[in-house]
């Protein structure tokens, strides 16, 4: 087998003392990996939507409220970096409606 056996290489011994950041784990297991439709679908497993929900989940509820629901608007990737607010707001409203997220930031 040509696969490098990293368990013995010692190159990443640091990882045992440093667990992966939750955000890094969620980003990978929810957003990456091969997507194959199983029998049971997570209906809302739309990547954009999930990214937004994920951020809401990871930020503390208080912080999310404090910041309002619009704090990702500064993100050029989510806003497309070119939208006027109108298009973005519409898109968010659609996503929020689909996610059952209230516009005022309550879960």
């Amino acid at each position: 087998m040509t696969h490098p056996d990293l368990r013995t290489s010692g190159a990443f011994s640091q990882r045992s003392s440093q667990p992966a950041q939750l955000a890094d784990v969620l980003e990978r297991v929810l957003d990456k990996g091969i997507v194959i439709a199983g029998d049971i679908q997570i209906n809302l497993l739309d990547i954009e939507l999930l990214t937004i929900r994920l951020r809401l989940l990871v930020a503390s509820a208080d912080k999310a409220r404090e910041m309002g629901i619009d704090w990702w608007q500064g993100d050029p990737f989510l806003s497309g970096g070119r939208d006027g607010n109108g298009a973005l707001e519409q898109r968010l409203k659609r996503l929020e409606a689909a996610a059952g997220i209230e516009g005022d930031g309550d879960e």
Partner: protein, 246 residues
């Protein structure tokens, strides 16, 4: 398998070669050359509606996302695996076999792509910009000039950060078989004062070259307040999907 009152389903973590599967201490469903690494899970937890509710539960999501990652991590350190996205569930083991048959070509190609390689994450962080000593403007004109000057500095600084991120990604790519610059995580997610300017993932056969490049990048950009962080090795989550088709 004992008869259980509880209704269950088959949760797929990822796919490996059958020959490798036999060396794993994991439950597998084999079909020809391929094997799915699976768990039997209760439908009460992983059924469609339950799953959707649970995804809103931060503690539940963290526990199960980490469990998914840990299973794949252990396997990926020993041999090639195609990680599945969280929450791929089948009613019966025959359905899992059907998936392996239907997706044989795609899965075999993905396994070949990641064989002997691991995914390394690299993040670049930018510290806060240096504070300009503020001097009270003497006139309205001086005030406007100060404002314009400040705006110009912000523009220049952000252009420089973008260039730093681009240069870093290209240099890291030169040590990798493949690479991707993902959306940087926002501060709300990272909880850090620094801004993430690069969130890269790189598929490498050997980790030393990219480790050294990170050291060189750190030295080159230290004066600009940029720091680099390596994570992994990860299962090759970023390098198994051909463009995210369903």
């Amino acid at each position: 398998m004992s008869a259980v009152a509880e209704q269950t389903a088959w949760y797929v973590y990822g796919v490996v070669e059958s020959s490798f599967a036999s060396t794993l201490e994991a439950r597998v469903v084999e079909e020809g050359e391929l094997a799915a690494v699976v768990d039997v899970v209760p439908l009460a937890v992983f059924g469609e509606q339950a799953l959707e509710e649970h995804l809103n539960d931060r503690a539940w999501l963290e526990t199960h996302a980490r469990a998914h990652q840990e299973v794949l991590q252990e396997i990926s350190l020993a041999g090639p695996v195609v990680p599945f996205r969280f929450g791929t569930i089948y009613h019966e083991s025959d359905d899992v076999r059907g998936m392996l048959r239907a997706r044989e070509t795609e899965l075999t190609t993905a396994l070949a792509r990641v064989r002997g390689r691991v995914e390394i994450g690299v993040k670049a962080w930018a510290g806060p910009p240096p504070v300009q000593p503020a001097r009270a403007p003497a006139t309205g004109r001086a005030y406007l000039e100060q404002r314009l000057g400040a705006q110009e500095r912000v523009r220049a600084a952000s252009a420089q950060l973008a260039e730093t991120a681009r240069d870093s990604h290209l240099r890291l790519l030169s040590c990798a078989v493949e690479g991707v610059a993902n959306r940087p995580q926002p501060r709300e997610l990272t909880g850090r004062d620094e801004a993430m300017i690069l969130n890269g993932a790189y598929l490498v056969a050997d980790v030393e070259p990219i480790r050294h490049e990170i050291e060189r990048l750190s030295a080159d950009y230290e004066a600009q307040g940029i720091s680099f962080e390596l994570t992994g090795p990860w299962p090759p989550y970023n390098f198994v999907d051909e463009g995210g088709e369903q």
